[in-house]
């Protein structure tokens, strides 16, 4: 049986063949046109040739057509941009429309095309031959390094030229970077913002900075995939992510502890541009500037104190050290620029805190291993802070004469709380004391009033104006009955070894093994020794202080040893030398307060803010071991006495509208109680 007709079948199949063949020819022809002739770059090159013809430049005709590229083995790529951007090096094409326009500025003189290509600065896809793929900005191009638009384009300069820690032009004239590179204005503005907003307080870059946040050294090399755009509603670009992140870090990255940065839009753009330029690209080292290469290795100019503070401390502590109150930040941030703080704090306290940090708080240790800052730079930051205490340049005041009555009022207002009425002494030494007044001249008195005696409880009074300082000095000087002995002895050279022995056997019982004070005042104290001249020291040691336990060592009272000039010189030498030694510990100093009574007082007056066991509720934690190792008893006493204006810490030595006055003894008891929180004594 016949199921199909061969003839009809064959005819149908032949139809299929003819149609198929025809379609195939059509498609092949179409493919030839679209793939061979109709390429985007061919059209562009034709346009360019026409432009040249219009300009009438015969002999400049684009003779060669085809795909051009710059081979850059150092960058592991070949840039084909010049297949369309033919006019890039042609000065006659400055006014031409894109893509024929020549490159603006003098960039190609310093960055020759054949050595640098295009994409190392501009981004984009080097191998592509269509505009869309070359720009690589749309998600369907699947290119992680999109073309950069201005001003973000400036971030590419940072790849080779950025030296984060150098501000001024470098010394080497061959090294043409850092601040003097044209066309980097937005980037440099971003760098300035980076240096003043304190970003390195939490982030590290090139080995310097904090460790709370991610390392930023190569942040600019991250692609879109390394950012989470889950909470970004606007443009899905890196620059927009960065701006949103600066505005509200916790929204963009839930769980982030980063503080908000309140900046104007154009500053945010600048900062984003800077961050996008933080990079350490894997390219031959000839392309980098020397300073940049050195920074990668860790060689850099030491940071000055103010710069160090700006880079690292200002984000938390504020640009002028104003700190953050407990409403803005859960545990508060100390106002280290507060004048009341600066007049009671010692440089050792600041340096210790910077070195050790504060456990259970955001203040970390900034020692070299962690922060990358070397000890001289940490010293510089310490000095920068300490110098804000306002004492410099005023010690000449002692020559002036003030008003005694006004001085009496001022004395009662400020000094009586510790030194007692009419200078008879309280928790602090008696000033109205003949032996003291005969040794201490006005220069000494003025110096001590101005700078205080750090660590010992005497705050500085630099916030008072010159007139008031002179008045107080006049009042104190008015108690002097005799005159100050002015004989300056010729002290022989000190034998320091002898001096140490003599100090140990004779003085340390009362003045402390390290001169930190016991029953007698602290005498190996920088403020004291810088204010007291050798004459005063000699007189005090030799003649003593009548009516006190300090007897004169050159008289034969009580069958004590008689010290001669050489001995006293040895002791003075030892004292002056000791104060320059590196501290092993910050000495607590003496404190005759009663812990039990202090406990009751603490609960009544302090616990509401500082917590029942000093853990800190809306005031700093007093049971913090680093704090207690940094703070001497004198510091505690001084802080309690003068309070801290601008915060909620009242001056308990004076009392105010809401808080009573606490006597010297009560304050001593509080100090003893606070000291009892200490469990360990941390070495410097």
């Amino acid at each position: 049986m016949v199921i199909m007709d061969e003839q009809r079948y064959r005819q149908r199949v032949q139809w299929l063949v003819f149609i198929g063949a025809g379609l195939l020819l059509l498609l092949l022809f179409g493919a030839w046109i679209s793939e061979g002739m109709n390429r985007e770059w061919r059209k562009v090159q034709k346009e360019y040739a026409n432009l040249l013809k219009e300009k009438g430049e015969s002999g400049n005709d684009l003779v060669e057509r085809g795909i051009f590229q710059v081979n850059l083995p150092g960058f592991n790529r070949s840039d084909r941009c010049i297949s369309c951007h033919l006019g890039i090096e042609d000065p006659g094409m400055q006014q031409a429309p894109q893509p024929h326009m020549s490159h603006p500025g003098h960039y190609l003189e310093d960055h020759p095309l054949q050595q640098y290509g295009c994409t190392i600065c501009h981004g984009g896809q080097p191998g592509a031959l269509t505009k869309k793929d070359a720009f690589g900005q749309l998600p369907e191009t699947h290119w992680p390094y999109p073309l950069l638009e201005q001003p973000y384009l400036q971030s590419s300069c940072g790849k080779c030229h950025l030296a984060i820690f150098t501000n001024r032009p470098s010394v080497d004239p061959e090294d043409n970077m850092s601040g003097t590179v044209g066309g980097m204005d937005v980037f440099l503005k971003g760098k300035r913002i980076f240096s003043t907003e304190g970003c390195l307080g939490c982030h590290q870059a090139r080995g310097v900075g904090g460790i709370l946040g991610p390392d930023l050294t190569e942040q600019g090399e991250k692609t879109r995939h390394e950012y989470s755009f889950q909470n970004i509603s606007g443009e899905q670009t890196i620059s927009n992510w960065l701006k949103e992140h600066f505005r509200d870090p916790e929204m963009v990255s839930p769980g982030s502890q980063m503080l908000r940065i309140n900046l104007e839009e154009e500053d945010l753009v600048a900062l984003a541009t800077f961050v996008m330029g933080l990079a350490k690209p894997d390219i031959p080292f000839e392309y980098f500037s020397m300073t940049t290469l050195n920074e990668f290795k860790g060689n850099r100019e030491p940071l000055e104190g103010g710069a160090g503070f700006s880079y690292l401390c200002s984000a938390c502590h504020g640009k002028s050290g104003e700190g953050k109150n407990y409403n803005d930040f859960k545990t508060g941030v100390p106002a280290i620029g507060n004048p009341d703080f600066l007049r009671v704090v010692s440089p050792e306290y600041i340096r210790f805190t910077i070195e050790k940090g504060r456990s259970q708080r955001q203040m970390g240790s900034w020692s070299r291993d962690i922060s990358g800052l070397n000890p001289p730079e940490l010293d510089a930051i310490t000095n920068y802070l300490y110098q804000k205490n306002g004492t410099s340049g005023r010690t000449g005041l002692y020559r002036l004469k003030g008003n005694r009555n006004r001085g009496e009022e001022l004395y009662d207002e400020f000094c009586k709380a510790c030194h007692g009425s009419e200078g008879k002494g309280d928790v602090a030494v008696a000033l109205n004391q003949e032996g003291f007044l005969q040794r201490a001249d006005n220069q000494y008195i003025m110096a001590i009033i101005l700078r205080g005696r750090r660590n010992e409880g005497m705050p500085g009074w630099s916030q008072l104006d010159d007139e008031k300082l002179v008045d107080i000095m006049t009042y104190i000087a008015s108690w002097r009955t005799g005159s100050v002995f002015e004989r300056t002895p010729e002290l022989p050279e000190a034998d320091l070894e002898q001096g140490a022995l003599q100090y140990h056997f004779l003085c340390s019982r009362c003045h402390g093994e390290f001169g930190e004070g016991e029953t007698g005042p602290a005498i190996i104290n920088r403020d004291f020794l810088e204010s007291a001249d050798n004459r005063m020291l000699y007189e005090t040691i030799a003649l003593g202080r009548p009516h006190t336990a300090m007897f004169g060592w050159s008289t034969d009272l009580y069958n004590q040893e008689k010290l001669d000039l050489q001995d006293i010189s040895n002791i003075i030498g030892h004292m002056r030398k000791s104060v320059t030694n590196e501290l092993t510990y910050i000495y607590q100093g003496t404190n005759p307060g009663q812990v039990d009574e202090g406990a009751l007082l603490f609960e009544k007056y302090c616990s509401e803010c500082h917590g029942k066991s000093g853990e800190g509720v809306k005031a700093p934690a007093l049971n913090n071991q680093e704090f207690l190792s940094a703070a001497s008893n004198g510091y505690l006493l001084a802080t309690i006495t003068v309070g801290r204006s601008g915060t909620n810490m009242p001056p308990w030595g004076y009392g105010d509208q809401e808080h009573p006055l606490l006597t010297g003894k009560q304050r001593q008891d509080l100090v003893a109680y606070i000291r009892s929180f200490q469990r360990i004594h941390i070495k410097f």
Partner: protein
Amino acid sequence: MKNTHTPAGIINRNFFLHIHAGRVHLHSMKPTYTFGLGIILGFLFLIMLFTGVILMVYYTPSVENAYMSVKDIVYVVPGGRIIRNMHRWASQGMVIVAFLHLVRVFYTGSYLGNRSLNWVIGVVLLIIILLSNFSGYLLPWDQLAYWAVTIGSNIAASARELTDLLGITNMFDPGGFLKKLLIGGEAVGQPALSRFFALHVIFLPLSILILLGIHLWRIRKDGGLSRPLKYKDDKGSTNKWQAWPVLMWTELGLLLMVVVIVLLIALVADAPLLEKANPYFPENPAKAPWYFLGIQELVSYSAFAGGMVIPVLYLVFLFSIPYRDREDVYVGQWFSGKNGIQTVGRSALFASLLIILQLFVMIRFGWLRDWFPGISQWFVMLVNPATISGGLFILMAEMIRRKRHSSRMAALALFTSTFVALVIFTVVGIWFRGPNWEFFWSVNQWPVI
């Protein structure tokens, strides 16, 4: 001397044409019998060879240069984009047509009679086609490629689920062995690329050519394509046409249409190329090539059950069909008559309902680990949609065999149910699984990460 200028002589004188017989039965030429699938598959393979050689000239199989060489093919080589697209789309076509051809051959009972060996060769060819596609998938070295092969290599290692449960993996690790055999290590890298390249351009194409030769020779040996028993006694030229010119015209027509369609698709649709492969940034979701997504879906239930047991069982089933079912009376008939149609229909319905029900329960209510958080992994491995479906299908086929006393009906039932299941799982894996392999109705609902 024989007259060699007859139509048969023209065929017989030419080495390549001689794969055809001089005469071909009419029934074999019916478009609605074979749909020309085998021939189409062969021509697709030809396209793969031709475009593949051109691509090989420009491609570099090293992890540093592979990606850029593919980009250069697309951007710079004249016509490179088209050639690459043709290679990609024809390869996908090959997988689809191979499965369709398998389906056609099965439902027409063309493995019956003396065609058992050819069926086996065909299944082997199917496996090699899948491996060719899989090895070629890696070569562009982009994110799609890298993570697809990572997934594939880990599916190869799924025996580890069992050995881990038994605690013997550090002594006996067949999963690890298989993975290392495949990609040369624990992670995809240059060793994987090198061996996949060698497989893809030399070993697998050669294997296909040799097996294809045997496959076509077997057709000659078996008396041409299968046909119903009523034609059993057609001898000589009864109901036969001369191969030259009719079959030649048919083949030419099919060749031209295949090339036209592939070229058309290549002109309008670009083969995908994502970012360069980056081991630090997994795709989410990371998906195996589409034809393995059914297996990946099963693996998401249990690695061992879905990655080893079910696929191996399926292959065993496929290989064994012509040896378990010898009811030659059904040869050459689509769906084997009314009974067959009924069996197929019911099996398809049963399979669809069962799979969809299980998916519904799983997606809506979770599965064992969600209801009993501490439950032993043994239960999870043994009781999941893969094993449940597999078990029920086998049971159903056995029941049908007993009820209808027919191995063909049983084969129809089992083949239909498993194939429907494969299709549904593959569809779910392709379109309904998003990041973290969670169920989404559409890509628009995928969360931004």
